[in-house]
Symmetry: C2
Subunit: 334 residues, 2 copies
DNA sequence: TGTCGAGCTTGCAACGTTGCAAGTGGTGTT
DNA sequence: AACACCACTTGCAACGTTGCAAGCTCGACA
């Protein structure tokens, strides 16, 4: 049972308020009183009760990062960046995972019951859209991450997916590839990422005057290795298989790579592969993976900064910030 | 500004207490009162204040999972398992990352100021040892994960590292390999994992009557891909390079694999590799990775169960539970 | 008509902390 | 000796909620 201020006060023979003054390092405390109280604090091993303090102060020093999947390397790496950013501002980050389940997303983000423990929220939604998010009952500030288009109303950090996808595709075109496939298209309107990247892919082909072949655009349910492996197998089963593939993230690319190699295809000689996200795995695969690298540190920095501004009372209209990205050329297209 | 019970009570023309009764679904409320209060709740979009509730009830429904590194796939996968387990018991898990930094570990685990927000803690320490942990001022129950040996005093879930490492090494011996190396030894006494696995490795060689070659045991600072890649390069530079390597985790193995393949070595023909942890990456590498698979679901289940027991008032002496593991043979040793 | 109890509602206090403003005692000044 | 002022200390209330036990109203029953 942890000691309370009252117990410390009794032991030191002072008022509760004075103990609080010592704990909070108020200057107006006589040196010997301070020493006596400090002694009592140490004797009892006093630790402030964070819950009571939060209730009283209205601030917990905790911000929540809510992500679809922690075991997707991109999110794990992004998490690291956010934690580092928040730490410099004295905030602790706690992370939670939704699996893109709308119910869980609702519960974590919308309902104050859990969220209210935190001063702010950085949220990468999969299922929840703008309409859902607009009228949250809670007043906890939120910063959104990711591609899901939210029509105004909230701060939002993303990268220009269409342009980035176009860049990736153009890279394959510049290699001289003729049949360029895409893995990761998505029909479900709640999953915007796939659609935006398909737009970029399409735009690049069109600009290059290349024909759009529908069966070369493979949808996948998720963005996991298994999806990439399966989609690649379908592509290789076509009468005319592709000689390059733009995978909408690195996991898809790693799955696709596995399929190619296990069939004896050479990458990049027979088939070039490019991914998206620049996760560490892609730097150590053989061949290593060409990819689009979003500036995760920048995303984290903006997200935390924006949130802190809101916490500090910034009432300016919601911003939409586009983070940088670049093309990293490695062995899989070299 | 979220509505409070008081505001709802005024609007509905009832007492604060009655509103609380409605919110908490107490049966003793007249139907029309309930309806009137419910209307007011809806009108104002009332959400209970989690902090006040926690202060009053003494329970937050939150448990914290404190891990060294979230972007290490093993931990990310373990996290998923813990979240799933806790969810079935109605608890929400929040995760934090220490980087194995003793200061951060202290702060998160020992000092009540942050920890006190949570009902319990599941903690995988790197730096903190038994002595540090024994006399925590906080009364929040803790369950420990991982290899770091803690001399009694706290519940602890681990796997038998020595036996598991011996199993891995024996597998390589059974393949008929003659020069078996090890990557991941650690001198630092706060990093027990490496030492335990070296013990198992040594025991297996000794049992098989094989000679112990010191330069085949490579220490690494961390257990990351880069460490594995570097250590492998050193091994290959030896006058007599190994024909098999036991890497103390899958990341090391993936790094080692990368080095081997980039030098044109065939795996497993020229050199066999085995890892540890069974992370997803190892299932999609080429060749896929033979590994020791700890039963993560079991670890998570025990950890959450033990913690919930403590929360329910279980006062029995601390347990040490050994989770299961098995050998998964894939292409890298086939 | 008075009493009882069921059914429903409420006030008070407390969880542990801190903001506010007032309080205490002692010292220095005139 | 009276007063002002300073340095320090304190009591009260409040943050929003819920446990406890008491309170109220009303109908039923004798």
């Amino acid at each position: 049972m942890p000691a309370t201020l009252r117990e410390v006060a009794e032991r030191a023979g002072v008022s509760v308020r004075t103990v609080s003054n010592v704990v909070n390092d108020f200057p107006q405390v006589a040196p010997d009183t301070r020493a006596r109280v400090q002694q009592a604090l140490d004797d009892l091993g006093y630790q402030p009760n964070a819950v009571a303090r939060t209730l009283r102060r209205g601030r917990s020093g905790l911000i929540a990062l809510v992500l679809p999947e922690l075991d997707v390397p991109y999110f794990a790496e992004l998490t690291r960046a956010v934690i580092e950013q928040a730490a410099t501002a004295g905030y602790t980050v706690v992370v939670d995972q939704t699996d893109g389940d709308p119910v869980r997303e609702q519960e974590l983000v919308m309902r104050g019951n859990r969220a209210a423990m935190f001063d702010g929220l950085i949220f990468n939604p999969l299922a929840l859209g703008g309409a859902d998010l607009r009228d949250r009952p809670s007043s906890t500030p939120v910063v959104l991450l990711g591609e899901r288009v939210v029509q105004g109303g909230l701060d939002h950090i993303m990268i220009d997916n269409v342009a980035a996808a176009e860049l990736a595709t153009r890279h394959l075109i510049d290699l001289g590839r003729q049949r360029i496939a895409a893995i990761g298209d998505q029909f479900d309107e709640t999953r915007q990422t796939g659609q935006l990247r398909t737009q970029g892919y399409t735009a690049a082909l069109r600009t290059a005057g290349m024909e759009l072949v529908p069966e070369l655009i493979r949808p996948t349910e998720f963005f996991h290795r298994a999806d990439g492996a399966a989609a690649m197998a379908e592509l290789l089963a076509l009468p005319e298989p592709p000689d390059a593939v733009f995978c909408y993230n690195d996991l898809l690319a790693l799955g696709a790579l596995r399929t190619c190699l296990s069939r004896g295809l050479r990458v990049p000689e027979d088939i070039a592969l490019i991914g998206f996200d620049d996760i560490e795995d892609g730097r150590y695969s053989t061949p290593s993976l060409t990819t689009i690298r979003p500036d995760k540190a920048q995303i984290a920095k903006h997200a935390v900064q924006l949130l802190l501004n809101r916490l500090a009372g910034d009432e300016s209209p919601p911003t939409e910030i586009a983070a940088d990205y670049d093309l990293v050329i490695r062995e899989s297209t070299r």
